[in-house]
Symmetry: C2
Subunit: 254 residues, 2 copies
Amino acid sequence: MRYALDHTGDLSVQIAHEIRGAIVAGTLLVDQRLPSEKELCDRFSVSRPTVREALKRLAAQNLIRTQRGASGGAFVNRVSYEQAYPQQITTSTLLLSMNDISFETACEARFAIERACIPLAAARRMPDHISTMRAEIQRQGLNDLTDESFCASDVNFHKALVQAADNPVLTYQIASAVEAMQPLMNMITFTQRDRVVIVSIHTKIADAIEKRDHASAEHTLSELADYTLTLADQARTIRQVKLATNDPQKRCKS
Amino acid sequence: MRYALDHTGDLSVQIAHEIRGAIVAGTLLVDQRLPSEKELCDRFSVSRPTVREALKRLAAQNLIRTQRGASGGAFVNRVSYEQAYPQQITTSTLLLSMNDISFETACEARFAIERACIPLAAARRMPDHISTMRAEIQRQGLNDLTDESFCASDVNFHKALVQAADNPVLTYQIASAVEAMQPLMNMITFTQRDRVVIVSIHTKIADAIEKRDHASAEHTLSELADYTLTLADQARTIRQVKLATNDPQKRCKS
DNA sequence: GACAATTAAATGTCAGACAATTCAAAAGTT
DNA sequence: AACTTTTGAATTGTCTGACATTTAATTGTC
């Protein structure tokens, strides 16, 4: 077969678009081998570097993988959660950092989405979900925890909560949203007192989920959302005060 | 500066990874120009095709754009919602189609996430959100509407609902989830009776949002989720019956 | 000073070659 | 005959050098 391309833009873009269309439409099935680069050159009437640039575009989107050697070539990838995940997070993270999204907006979205899985989590939670949550809560109570470790444990807690809903699509969507928020959350430093409050809220959530009391869990989650906002507000105030009182020399250093 | 690369895998992958890291870390700022391809060749000690393949990888992820001519080159992209959107949808759509996600699972996730924005939408809806929703409802009542047009209007209705929450991050997340579901939704054919039911549910939702009654809106949305599931169930049954009663000739045609 | 032609720099494309990798078949050995 | 080794072919990865195309700045002319 011969391909007819849009006559808009660069050749490698057109070719990549053509092949992507075939994959999305199902003309090319998972694990099916694409024609070799040489054949693609003939079909599209372009040189090999051009074909290769097109293939690299597709590879960057995890749509294909390539293998060297005899019986090698480019193969259609099965798009898995594991592969889509980091991609999604990179995009979301950049979106947040490049578009002046306020902490309030991001926080609101994150907790709103997480709230979506609470009824399902309450209905379907299994014993190991609860024990994972409690283990993370216990970890969060340790005294010698760095802020990073505390945040990581926090992420794990919420991941377990989401996983209790037992819906892979939901897990994928929410987990990527939560992780994309992480850089913003890391700007907060948690005092010992803050941690005590958060641990108590987490405990209340775990209790509610265990008792399959979704109303209480939802309510407590919004409590956590509010508290997170006040923490961010405090952190901002502290930063501003520091900035104002800092002598010029120190400010230059930063 | 000279770069040190991981010695794992292909060169173009390593180079792309290196540059991506600089963008994500903020070393390269938005709209900043990357070194020319020739300079990159020198820095990484590779040939131009290799550098170009790396740049194409980044371009495929919308991280950079290229411009020809004098004072052209590769520039760091501002990742905008508009650009991230179709990318996200493509990925999500492929995830759904390639991983044997049941309609039930996808539907559950979609409505759960949409539910997340209801309280915000009820609190913040403006007159034009309501009028958009009502306009789409009216359109859905027209008799000579194709299934595709009905679905498109349905998407618009839910988009307006989400937009009423007035949170760009939330809009981005939910809208992409809803759109990714569209191929699955398009498998359902809506009888006139189905449409009447859906229109009435939509009306109830719009009414509740207008009255800022989030509890009622949430309840009605879950009603819609249930109804959608029964429709999908019907569609599946009908397809099976057709398959069983079809004579061989017709089955070959399809 | 305004407009047109030239120039330079950068990406886009091409052609051909060689290197590296992998699998399969042929050859050789036991 | 069964197993091991060698060879070869196919394919992607990389390099080199060249030319085409596009665009902005420069130069020249009126």
